[in-house]
Symmetry: C2
Subunit: 349 residues, 2 copies
Amino acid sequence: MKKVRIVGSGLVGTSIGLALAGHNHGVEMADIDAPRAALAQKLVGIAPPGKAELTIFAIPTSSLEQVIDNEYQLNPKSTFIDIASTKTKSNLLVATVAGLSQRFCGTHPMAGREIGGPESARADLFQGRPWIYTPTPATAEDVIEEVLWLIATVGGQAFLMDAQAHDQAVALVSHLPQIGASLVAHLLQGAKPEFLALAGQGLRDTTRIAGSDALMWSEIISDNKTYILPLLLELNDHITGLIATIDEKQEVQKFIEGGNKGRQAIPGKHGGVVRSYHFLPIVIEDKPGQLAALFHECAEAKVNIEDLSIEHSPGQFTGLITLALSHNDASILASHLSSRGWSVHEVRK
Amino acid sequence: MKKVRIVGSGLVGTSIGLALAGHNHGVEMADIDAPRAALAQKLVGIAPPGKAELTIFAIPTSSLEQVIDNEYQLNPKSTFIDIASTKTKSNLLVATVAGLSQRFCGTHPMAGREIGGPESARADLFQGRPWIYTPTPATAEDVIEEVLWLIATVGGQAFLMDAQAHDQAVALVSHLPQIGASLVAHLLQGAKPEFLALAGQGLRDTTRIAGSDALMWSEIISDNKTYILPLLLELNDHITGLIATIDEKQEVQKFIEGGNKGRQAIPGKHGGVVRSYHFLPIVIEDKPGQLAALFHECAEAKVNIEDLSIEHSPGQFTGLITLALSHNDASILASHLSSRGWSVHEVRK
């Protein structure tokens, strides 16, 4: 049994606590907000006495600055890690505390929820999710081992990266889409309700993450401005270019084609190449049990659903569900469903 | 039985043909590409002889210009409609043909697929989808009746709008998210594969529609530049503003908050206010039948799934499925699933 001290009792900190407690490790929850720490502690169980072997900073980098000295003095033999979304800044902060660099390793679990707080924490939050760790040349071997132990224990998947490469990568795959979604959503403010009533899945998907926490994101964007700024300048160039050439159909086409290519570059499920699925659209009535009944049929037909999406129409109680399956399974399921009277579109190719 | 002539045998034209043929109406398919028209005709059945009572232009506005005179001379007593994504331009074209304005009504079915061609057509494409119609003061009463008959027959939901209001609305809810998604995806071109391997659901959702057809979109954007340009200038202002204030955390926070507000303005399912769902996360093994087995349990528990999403982790064969249910159904399902050994997070609030 290990003793772990978690500084920061928000969603991520408490979720790590729950996951470790689930494996019978002793967890001590701390927070600048005492009632919050008390709630988190209640969720993860009783904190054992003694010094912590591992200290996890589950707080924003701006708060790390305020507690780092104190925590190192409290447990000088502990291993220290943080879980903030940017990594070069925490390394800089750690380097200001003599002796700490050897005992520290930055990490970033790529998991979260659209809601925060210890009450939203989940022991399974990291299950199967990538968890990046970014040691510096100063980081001791046993510290890295401790990090790998933690990631494995909570069910995450460890990825080794350089801190700079990490920050550059997340600027592109995480911070850029956040800014893009917020940009589009910005323009919806004050729009006529009858315009917004026509919103389809495209608008919903493009702006889903625009609902994210503003305080947290203002910190992430400021922390990572080194890598975000060049992307913003590039965005700016593309918009300026589109404005200038909106009368030239060929230029507009090139712009959309560039987006096609970028989209194709995103790896598919399991981080591999995009698999070729067959998409089977089924119209269902939006009444209790329809979706369950549909999947009951899928179970009977013994097919494997790779992915699915649901579309709803405004003001009408029908929905279109699109299932992604292998071509073979799609044929099997299409015949099965049709024979049972479901409104399924026949497989043509 | 009505005779309908459909000029344009692509996805939308052929889908209208299939839906009408399914209700025993006579459909004549036409296209500038003869083999394409022949395939579409084969799919919808044999064209009856005689004049068409209704002519549907299922072609881009640039092609409308080339055929409109000829079609009016062919069937001067017919009703004419088009289905292009922008409406002011088709009205302008129609006004150039003497006598046609009375017989014409622009329409826009808000339905489509990520793939095109008659072979992808579906009789149920318009089922439950909004279908906007934009008559002008010149449009005759019986023409509007014919439009409403068509929309009802193919299962769509008719929305009356002014052509300008339509074009302004779709610039915001359809063309802007397309441009936003293409912009973000643009920057992914040439990115390091190890960066893109970290892509999560946020990037995938934000760029999903960036895969759309470039030729079709270059036409839509050019046609609707009157309403798209002001939005692009606004986008540009926001990016310039963000670049200038990236060092001021409060300004960045305001930017993200603006996106929060815009996102909240999008109406939820059924065009009403966003319902309050409970989100139930379940970790499943990614092996055949897991999803089907899960929904089999949902059917047994007699709960109604309102929405769902699937998340996959790179390189690992587990997935997180999040079900949206009423709070009551979520409690029922959580207990049911837990008792059957599923990895479900307990309902806490």
